[in-house]
């Protein structure tokens, strides 16, 4: 059995508004755990594996640039030295942490696996979740290169499509460059070594001579995973959104977005330009408004619209919880449309070039999906949430001085308590399984939930139709509904043709509808599209709402899909249901 080790690292500030205490956390989970459990931060699927030291080496820089320093560096070399030291420190620490995963030192061990059977198990690094800045540091490449492939975006005649066909940036290709330079110049110090490596112009940074993955049997192109949060959602917020704002005007975009009905958790009432700080949720919700806001906007060319729509389709597809060959085929088509229209951003003067690492890396999502499953497996959203649960909450319980050791001690206590709690739960579940409960009927979770007592009772239909113009056709509609219901209930084959406009004196109008009981809203829960989604619950609002209910009302009736042609394919037999009592 392979234990698929997934690592995630990220830097976070321990204090929110003041101070510069930085916490570089390294988390670990296993790919063997179900994805939906792994995505829950409080499920215990993630552990804090290490705290990586972090320093900006400002004192080093000061000492080296002082006249008394015995090491003579020019200005550029001195400026690059803190970065070199920071990356060396990171790789040295990581080498210690992942030492048990190295090819030469890896040993199998026996663990209790599924079905209470003993399995021989071996741990392998299969994924590393990090933001783009850290991906460059892990792969030891410059920010202008790609950590996954050997495409060189800034070379003459290169295009963003090169990333689709370029060879992977394997660990051996990076190490070859480093070894070659070191063999040619065995005695140069690290700051000169970096300059020599950069002269090779192959995208390797040269900040680190011995990367931590040197002794692993996988290279960074295999274990670095594209991050959905930064690589897709934040990318759209940072780049295409700003292009749209510069094209149609910031005020126009804000106004168009603010006029659209609410979708998701956020409604951008004042647009997006005035938001000072946006979270991942806002980045994701913005994608829901862009397509209708862009349609019909001034100065938008068809090519630019197709480019943005293709990007939206790509981001939408890569975050779906289940993908098959058909959907991946659709994804390829959207990539072709995106590449075909990408130059429009340059033609419109929005960009000088399209060498944006995250735009170029979008194609690597497809490779990740084919190799390691859906992208939600590799989102940094869970590790980002873990910052709040683990380091930040533990730091708050310390005296804020020499906090590392107390934090680790508290973490040990918390972990012990959690493991004990889960063991007790597991034991009780085994005991209760001897008396299994009847299986739950999940269809009970779907349907309509409406208040037993109407929100307003005994309202005259004439007052309703007189008050609201949109209800002018209510009486005619009741007549038609009643006639159709009579025709359906009747045993005779004769049908009544009811058309035109009717009033209360019409023979088709049932007298019982002279006074009505009204509801302003009800809850509708729909079954998921497939087993990878959760059921969705919505409040369906009526357009006609009394003043005292208007605090939650959006100002318009909910738009819904109605089963309009049920008889054609016999669906009426499935949808014919009755309301049951409480």
């Amino acid at each position: 059995m392979i234990q698929a080790v997934i690592l995630a690292s990220d830097e976070t500030h321990l204090t929110n508004f003041s101070g510069s205490k930085v916490f570089h956390a390294l988390y670990m989970t296993l790919g063997n755990i179900y994805g939906h459990i792994r995505r829950q931060p409080q499920s215990g699927a993630w552990v804090l594996l290490a705290i990586l030291p972090s320093s900006s080496f400002t004192q080093t820089l000061l000492n080296l640039t002082s006249p008394q320093s015995y090491v003579k560096l020019n200005k550029n070399q001195a400026a690059s030295l803190p970065g070199i030291l920071k990356q060396c420190l990171y790789h040295e620490c990581m080498a210690i942490v992942i030492d048990p995963l190295c090819y030469a030192k890896r040993r199998s061990c026996f663990v209790l696996g599924p079905g209470n059977k003993i399995h021989s198990s071996m741990a392998c690094l299969v994924g590393y979740i990090a933001d783009m800045k850290e991906q460059f540091m892990i792969a030891c490449v410059t920010p202008r290169a790609c950590p996954i492939c050997l495409a060189q975006p800034r070379l003459h005649n290169s295009t963003i499509q090169d990333h689709c066909t370029a060879k992977p940036h394997t660990g051996s290709s990076t190490l070859d460059v480093l070894y070659r330079v070191r063999n040619a110049h065995p005695d140069v110090p690290i700051w000169k070594f970096r300059t020599l490596v950069s002269k090779e112009k192959c995208g390797v940074s040269g900040y680190v001579e011995h990367p931590f993955w040197e002794d692993l049997d996988v290279g960074p192109s295999h274990f670095i995973c594209q991050d959905l949060l930064h690589g897709a959602h934040k990318f759209f917020w940072d780049h295409p959104c700003k292009w749209i704002a510069s094209l149609i005007g910031t005020e126009c975009l804000d106004r168009r977005i603010s006029l659209l009905p609410k979708e998701g958790l956020h409604h951008f009432k004042s647009g997006i330009s005035k938001l000072k700080q946006a979270s991942g949720r806002e980045h994701r919700d913005l994608l829901k408004y862009i397509a209708p806001a862009l349609a019909g906007a001034p100065r938008v060319t068809p090519q630019f619209r197709d480019f943005i729509l293709a990007l939206l389709h790509i981001i939408m597809i890569i975050q779906l919880p289940m993908l098959d060959d058909n959907i991946l085929g659709e994804l390829d088509k959207h990539f072709e449309v995106m590449y075909a229209n990408a130059d429009e951003a340059i033609s419109l003067g929005l960009r000088k070039n399209l060498w944006i690492p995250k735009l170029m890396a979008l194609t690597h999502f497809c490779q990740d999906i084919q190799l390691g499953g859906v992208s939600s497996n590799w989102s940094s959203e869970t590790p980002e949430t873990l910052h709040k649960l683990l380091p930040k909450s533990l730091y708050g319980q310390t005296n804020h001085k020499d906090y590392h050791i107390p934090m680790l001690e508290m973490l040990t206590v918390h972990e012990t308590k959690r493991v004990r709690h889960e063991y007790i739960q597991w034991r009780s579940s085994i005991q209760s399984s001897q008396h299994p409960n009847p299986p739950l009927d999940h269809t009970q979770n779907y349907g309509i939930k409406i208040a037993q007592r109407p929100h307003k009772q005994g309202v005259a239909i004439t007052s309703l139709t007189a008050k609201s113009g949109s209800l002018a056709g209510l009486i005619s509609a009741i007549c038609k509904f009643s006639a159709e219901a009579d025709a359906t209930a009747s045993t005779s084959t004769a049908t009544h043709q009811v058309s035109g406009t009717y009033d209360l004196s019409s023979p088709w109008f049932p007298r019982r509808y002279n006074k009505l009981d009204l509801w302003w809203s009800y809850r509708l829960t729909i079954p998921p599209f497939n087993e990878f989604y959760e059921r969705e619950t919505r409040t369906i609002w009526c357009k006609t709402v009394e003043d005292h209910q208007k605090s939650k009302w959006k100002g318009y009736g909910s738009c819904v899909f109605v089963l309009a042609h049920p008889k054609r394919h016999g669906i009426h037999s499935m949808s014919a249901t009755t309301l049951k009592g409480p």
């Binding site: 009905p261 397509a291 509801w519 729909i526 006609t544 669906i571």
Partner: protein, 145 residues
């Protein structure tokens, strides 16, 4: 407050429709105007067979076209009007409302100052079915054409 629970087993209908890719042909967008029933304060003894269940009065939009619009990349619908240019409405059983429709009004050019979120749907002539509103809507809408 107590609740009445309606049990439309439309899960089966939905799954069948997504399999046969008839989603767009079978469903029609509408705006819910009123949820009502005949008042329970009145005697309904005249019709003992009558089952007094809540119903909805909706205003129809036009049928969903088979292909998305060339100009927006989304499916476009309009308010359905009768021969006298009045909105087409209907009373329907509540269990025919299958799920929420992400309908967004089209805004052509620079939006006029008097437009607000509340009144824009009254002024708009076209409405987009926004497939990007959620993953489930995306799969249902995009994979059915």
């Amino acid at each position: 407050m107590g609740f009445i629970v309606c049990l439309p087993p439309h899960s089966k209908a939905l799954s069948d429709i997504t399999k046969t890719k008839l989603f767009l042909a079978e469903y029609r967008p509408a705006e819910v105007q009123l949820v009502f029933r005949a008042s329970s304060r009145l005697s309904i003894s005249e019709d003992k067979q009558f089952e007094n269940v809540p119903m909805a009065y909706v205003l129809w939009y036009t049928d969903i076209p088979s292909v998305p619009s060339d100009t927006s990349g989304m499916f476009v619908v309009r308010k359905a009007l009768d021969h006298a240019n009045h909105p087409q409405g209907a009373v329907i059983s509540l269990n025919k409302i299958i799920f929420h429709c992400p309908l967004h009004p089209s805004i052509i050019g620079d939006p006029r100052p008097q437009l607000t979120k509340e009144n824009i749907s009254a002024f708009a002539t076209e409405f987009y079915i926004n497939p990007f509103s959620s993953g489930q809507v995306y799969q249902r809408v995009q994979q059915s054409h």
